[in-house]
């Protein structure tokens, strides 16, 4: 019953995408708002709650991620209402976009709520394949090339995840049988896994697959190129929802890996994320358009979330995750307006917005730009503060205090490079270039306002308390 309730809005969206009347489009934001009802029920119920046997189990972590993703989905469907006013898209392509968006949603709901590694993978693969067509709704040659790129590289990444899952399953099957596919069963018997080496090999492969999917080393420019070539809502969906499902998988796998061998987990993830942020910081420094800038910044933030999570800052990771999930789609949707009709210039991009809607848009974009570089009172300011604090605390209790402090210092230097670049871009948007009047529509301002409210909600004492309880 609960599964049907959760999937119903996506199924309504899928069915509505076949209707040829323009009124059907109005149904789409309503269907995306409707998912808040089952998600609300998840919060009211005692946890863990088996929604579908052992396959889909709701706990505080995935309920939180699903709530954040649902809010992002509402914002994106609102912004989609005015997509055809900013870019050239046919009615048929728009309907197909919604159709694949609905399939994408179904895949992600399965992935986020999965307690079963196989279901997690199936959902993620379904979401990956449905995104391919969403990229292709832009009928440019670049988008077509990137859709194939996404298909091929995405398939390789997802295959690595499946490869890892098979090895993890093989490592625990002698003691758990078919239950070796369940995250909770694996966690309960982590110490008894007869071949930890096989488990760790599987974990490393699955993690590399998930990291590649999020644009980590060595595929740092992969997502940036795809997001540049596709229409802006695709980038918003990638950063706000798809990456959320991937990082939930990382949270699940790494929790088991921590129980198997914490030192190996921390060493592997810290080295990988440091290398990624090191490269991304310089790529951000050289970024010359909004899409690539925000896309690369997304990689940096996902790396920070992974780092905080394994470094002991679970609360910081969850706070950072929520803030990023609201901020990045908001910035990508803003980019659609800032670059309306193919305008790519950073200089003066914030000039020319008049009237109440224009002024509100200007205010919200400024807010998001400053919040993404962690200026207080952005939730990212608090998450980084708590995250780095937790890393130093963890280092104190280990034998690697100097190495961890060195890594933290290096990270702070790299983050200042990114901070400097974002502030320079913000100043260029505000003070340089020519002012030309540009339209902003009510639906997209409403979408941005939803993200701003979500962001503010994260720093309320109740939200912080809830996140601490998950940690």
């Amino acid at each position: 019953m609960m599964v049907a309730l959760l999937l119903l809005p996506a199924l309504v969206m899928f069915a509505a995408s076949f209707l040829h009347t323009p009124r059907a489009r109005r149904l789409l934001p309503i269907s995306s708002v409707a998912i808040l009802i089952p998600v609300g029920i998840l919060f009211l119920h005692a946890k863990p709650w088996s929604i579908w046997g052992d396959y889909l189990v709701a706990d505080d972590l995935n309920s939180y991620v699903l709530l954040v993703s649902s809010v992002v989905g509402i914002g994106v469907t609102l912004a989609l209402l005015t997509l055809d006013r900013h870019v050239a898209i046919t009615e048929v392509s728009t309907r197909r976009f919604y159709r694949f968006f609905a399939l994408f949603w179904i895949g992600l709901i399965l992935s986020i709520l999965a307690n079963h590694m196989g279901i997690y993978w199936i959902g993620l693969e379904m979401a990956t394949l449905s995104t391919v067509y969403m990229i292709k709704t832009n009928r440019s040659a670049a988008a077509h090339k990137e859709a194939w790129n996404y298909m091929i590289v995405g398939a390789i990444a997802i295959s690595l995840v499946l490869f890892g899952i098979i090895l993890i399953y093989a490592s625990a099957k002698p003691i758990l049988g078919e239950e070796a596919m369940l995250f909770d069963a694996l966690l309960a018997k982590a110490h008894a896994i007869p071949s930890p080496f096989l488990f760790e090999m599987g974990f490393a492969l699955a993690t590399v697959g998930m990291f590649v999917k999020m644009g980590f080393f060595p595929m740092n420019l992969w997502l940036a190129n795809i997001e540049r070539a596709s229409f802006y809502p695709v980038a918003a969906l990638f950063s706000g929802i798809l990456e959320s499902a991937v990082i939930v998988g990382f949270f699940r796998f790494s929790t088991v890996a921590r129980a198997v061998n914490e030192a190996h987990l921390v060493g592997f993830v810290v080295a990988y994320t440091l290398l990624t942020i090191f490269i991304v910081a310089f790529l951000i420094y050289r970024a010359k358009d909004f899409m690539r800038l925000f896309s690369l910044s997304g990689i940096e933030h996902m790396a920070l979330i992974a780092l905080f999570w394994v470094g002991g800052g679970t609360f910081a990771a969850l706070l950072h995750f929520g803030a990023h999930a609201f901020l990045k789609p908001a910035l990508f949707l803003s980019t659609g307006v800032l670059e309306s009709s193919g305008r790519y210039h950073i200089a003066g991009a914030l000039k020319g917005y008049r009237g109440v809607r224009g002024k509100l848009f200007y205010f919200l974009v400024s807010l998001f730009l400053l919040a993404i570089v962690s200026l207080p009172p952005s939730p990212m300011f608090f998450s980084e503060l708590y995250g780095f604090g937790a890393m130093v605390d963890a280092a104190e209790s280990s034998h690697h205090l100097l190495a961890m402090i060195g890594a933290t210092l290096l990270l702070l230097i790299l983050l200042s490079v990114i901070f400097y670049r974002f502030v320079a871009i913000y100043q260029s948007m505000k003070y340089e270039g020519e002012a030309a009047e540009r339209p902003v529509y009510a639906a997209e301002v409403a979408a941005l306002a939803i993200f701003a409210v979500g962001l503010l909600a994260l720093i309320t004492p109740a939200a912080m308390h809830f996140l601490r309880s998950i940690a």
Binding site: L103, G118, I122, W148, M151, A170, K173, P194
Partner: protein
């Protein structure tokens, strides 16, 4: 019997790497899937595992029959290039393939005592994965890349069958469903490919 089928599986994949014609590549993929399906049936029968027998049957129907046929029809319909010369020259590929095999057997050595079945099967699964990746990398055309992607899926199926004695039925069915969805997406992408490569039709 299992050794023979795994040998055929590996041999068809290696041959596919050297193929320069699209329909022949599809035939090798079909044979590769056929050996995989028969392997699942053989192991399933030996272990009295109904789920694996069903997986084997679906593999035979879907991967050895339907998918190569659909891909051939799509390539005819959209006029895809049929001359698919690999970017890596044959003399280098001949050296690369054994190197990959030796490397994967070396890689699988530490886990030989950890898996339930024959460790060599796991090594062959991993090497098949690398060979499928090589197939994707050595071609510029879309069709061989798709076959590479499908071969990679076959390698994972082989790994699941040999390293774990078969994945749970639900997972197998989910993977088949995703595979069908991949074919739908490939069809949609090829419509555009047809427009882009209209000059290449009939090559």
């Amino acid at each position: 019997m299992v050794d023979l089928l795994i040998g055929i599986f590996l041999a068809t994949l290696i041959t596919a790497l050297f193929t320069a014609r699209l329909y022949r590549l599809l035939m090798w993929y079909s044979l590769n899937s056929l050996s995989l399906g028969l392997l699942a049936l053989t192991i399933g029968r030996a272990q009295h595992d109904g789920a694996m027998i069903i997986s084997g049957l679906i593999t035979l129907l879907l991967k050895a029959g339907a998918i190569p046929w659909i891909l051939k029809r799509l390539s005819q319909r959209f006029g895809l290039v049929r001359q698919i010369t690999p970017n890596i020259r044959i003399q280098y590929a001949i050296m690369l393939v054994p190197a990959i095999l030796v490397f994967t057997f070396y890689l699988a050595e530490p886990i030989s005592h950890m898996v339930e079945g024959n460790a060599n099967y796991v090594a062959i699964s991993i090497s098949s994965l690398f060979l499928a990746l090589l197939l994707m990398m050595e071609h510029n055309n879309i069709a061989p890349k798709i076959v590479g992607f499908l071969s990679m899926e076959n390698a994972l199926f082989l790994l699941g069958t040999t390293a774990t004695g078969g994945m749970p039925m639900l997972v197998e069915l989910g993977i088949f469903f995703d595979l069908l969805m991949a074919i739908v997406v490939i069809n949609l992408l090829m419509r555009r490919e047809e427009m882009e490569n209209s000059g290449e039709a009939g090559a």
